[in-house]
Symmetry: C2
Subunit: 296 residues, 2 copies
Amino acid sequence: MLKIAMFGYGNLGKAVVDAIDAARDMELCGVIMRTQSLHKPKVSVPVVDDVSKLETKPDVALLCVPTRAVPGVAELCLAQGINTVDSYDIHTDIWELRQRLDMAAKKGGATAIVSTGFDPGGDSIVRALMEVLAPQGKTFTNYGPGMSLGHTVAVKAIEGVKNALSMTIPLGTGVHRRLVYVELLDGYAFDDIAAKIKADPYFVNDETHVYLESNVDSLKDVGHGVNMVRKGVSGKTHNQLLEFNMKINNPALTAQAMVACARASAKQVPGAYTVLEIPVIDMLDGSKEELIRRLV
Amino acid sequence: MLKIAMFGYGNLGKAVVDAIDAARDMELCGVIMRTQSLHKPKVSVPVVDDVSKLETKPDVALLCVPTRAVPGVAELCLAQGINTVDSYDIHTDIWELRQRLDMAAKKGGATAIVSTGFDPGGDSIVRALMEVLAPQGKTFTNYGPGMSLGHTVAVKAIEGVKNALSMTIPLGTGVHRRLVYVELLDGYAFDDIAAKIKADPYFVNDETHVYLESNVDSLKDVGHGVNMVRKGVSGKTHNQLLEFNMKINNPALTAQAMVACARASAKQVPGAYTVLEIPVIDMLDGSKEELIRRLV
């Protein structure tokens, strides 16, 4: 049994507890939370503020903390010889994170699997596979309909916004519409706020609609989707058509991908890996023979 | 530059020549054909009947021979330290082939990648990935519309059949319709032949329609398709919906997958591998940094 520690206990953390519970080959041995929250996690394992305070040393730490906290927490674990799995989602910095954690992992004799989940994660493997099968051509990743965390945070940062939610609507060929729902603080004009949102770098290049709402929380739904399309060339044969679709609960899928990578982390030599660098079979529970007979 | 030798020169072999030609990191160094065919291959490299007769020793042999000839030809190459890649497609025997070639590969200090292409191959990776993301549930692989080689061969083996073609039509949830087009030899009754086809183990469990044709060759089209659908559970969250579709030229896709695996074969330690056991990134041309920045 792989012993798993979990950092953080938000939406993702709760889904991770479920995914560990459903896995036959691992068990949760503790939750690590930096700040003592008002709401105690509903888990039957120790909740501590430092991983070294756990009675059993975990094999793997699943980092369910905000993306920007990932590098620091990961280095802390790797230095103690604990593998890490994260869902770091700033696409432009993934290579840098991998390089940074590669050093820390090799030094600690552990493994780090970076940026797994929905996208980056499952989508990344499909994007790579599509290029394997049809190397010349263009892949369009169409996200949604679903909530965009990054865009929501950007709206919430605007002065006068009390609560917000940004939905991503796919229009095809990588073009997206943004639907932004806002509650405002007293004394702010909707038209001014809407103009500021549309001028924000997150929104300025997309078709953006802003709506005033009385209760933004009532619109929340963590369902998400993706439609990936590639029309490409295999050898010298054009018009090869490939497509991948998901309609999923995002935290549940991300948590499941993290649990699968926890399993894979125990099968790699020390170092850091993106999901493209790991054999898919290492992410699955079962013997090689059973999996190959059933899936190849 | 990886030096590639190719065994066989049928539909698949021709597509492999194209795919090697389109790849920047490899070159064809020879074609090996057991029997001297009437039609010389249209290639600018030596055509020989034994791989040892090639002036340059190849790094990898791509086996474009009939599936049943794969194990023998592969062992011959592996014994000489030449990596092999095949598209062996008898699903029930893939594990046995892998085990057999694993021994040969380790003895020869080479690598063998077995059963790549359309299905097994690309589909296998997607099937495994779908289980990674939603481990509980059922995946349906719906093939077609497209020609089925195995079913076509079964019809041709029936006495009185001069030429035949069997099409696979997907009806969803893994159920398929078979459309069989036949030309008959003189003196055979269509109704008798149709009854025999429908009673054949290849067809007896499927909805099968048999049609008499005057020119079966005029119906040939190597386009094929697949629709893979999984509705499953991530952690404890049900109704996770995943789907993968391809509409492709089959020999071109299979050839491209083989070329990608030739590249990957040079990056593994001696032994035999199915596509699930290889990191997807190893199949792609480019530096790790460039690929990870672009695809993760």
